[in-house]
């Protein structure tokens, strides 16, 4: 029988869907019967999804200009090197 401790230990594999089917069925049974573990599973999933869903913001213009300038310089020096 799966305990809360077992469930927490297996939670990572469960979330990544890498538990074997037999164990997964037992974990599913436990979640249905244990409100604590259900809440932990639900809030952990939400935690992952909220980070995943956050879009990367555009770079500040100043930073982008600095980056492009450095790259242009690098490309310029590399092509000059080839020419030599």
């Amino acid at each position: 029988m799966v305990t809360c401790k077992d469930f927490l230990r297996e939670l990572g594999e469960y979330l990544d869907e890498s538990t074997d089917p037999e164990l997964r069925a037992e974990l599913d049974r436990h979640i249905n019967e244990c409100p604590n573990c259900w809440v932990v599973l639900d809030t952990t999933k939400k935690t992952i999804n909220i980070y995943k869903g956050l879009e990367a913001q555009p770079l500040p213009e100043r930073l982008r200009a600095r980056l492009m300038e450095a790259v242009a310089k690098k490309i310029g020096s590399a092509s000059n090197g080839h020419d030599c």
Binding site: K5, L8, G12, E13, T43, I48, Y51, L67, A70, A78
Partner: protein, 214 residues
């Protein structure tokens, strides 16, 4: 509907082959192609560097150094991994170097021994009040998530960022960080649970706490 995944795969293949061509052109010194690759990935590289280093100045350096190194080493990129995975590897190395430099008095170790069990991390057991994305403005939510991730030790947040934000595989993460698969898995679980704990304290429905694990 069977036609949908097929169409998706075709579209995905087009995007992938488009990128392969772009990388190939950049390898041959096409500056425009390399600029297109920068435009495609600059946001993600900068976000990853900020999340790992937790320092704007360091993240800016990491962003720049990552693309300069990528350009320099592009001829050795064999195309065995995706371009973004290769780029991530460079960005992670640069970020970790910054972390180590900043904490020169304390070694930033990615493989220190972690003996806490999962139960000790789980204290707040409460459902969340609605959807945080709807309850908070973008900026406010971003600040909450930044603060939560900032409070994690570098070992935890680096693994979390690579696996759950950048969606690298466990194997790729292990290889990038020089950790075993088991170490990545255990760090990821602890990172997820620690973040869950911190966010639950903020997002929980008040007066709705269920008994915690004893």
């Amino acid at each position: 509907m069977p036609s949908e995944p097929a169409a998706g795969n075709v579209a995905g293949a087009d995007v992938a082959s488009g990128e392969v061509l772009l990388v190939e052109r950049a390898r041959q010194g096409d500056a425009e192609a390399f600029s297109a690759l920068i435009s495609k990935y600059e946001r993600r590289v900068y976000r990853m560097a900020r999340q790992i280093t937790q320092n704007d100045e360091d993240a800016e350096d990491v962003l720049q150094d990552t693309f300069l190194k990528a350009y320099e080493h592009l001829p050795s990129f064999q195309g065995q991994s995706k371009f973004y995975t290769w780029l991530t590897r460079i960005a992670v190395n640069e970020s970790l170097m910054k972390l180590r430099k900043r904490k020169s008095d304390r070694t930033v170790s990615l493989d220190e021994n972690i003996e806490t069990d999962e139960e000790s991390i789980v204290r707040e057991i409460a459902v969340w009040d609605g959807t945080p994305e709807e309850r908070y403005g973008q900026e406010e939510l971003r600040a909450i998530l930044d603060e939560a991730i900032q409070s994690l030790k570098p070992i935890f947040r680096t693994v979390f960022v690579l696996r759950d934000v950048e969606e690298m595989s466990t194997e790729e993460t292990a290889e990038m960080l020089g950790l075993s698969i088991a170490a990545v898995k255990s760090r990821l679980l602890r990172a997820r649970l620690q973040l869950r704990e911190k966010l639950t304290r903020i997002f929980k429905r008040k007066g709705d706490q269920i008994l915690g694990y004893v």
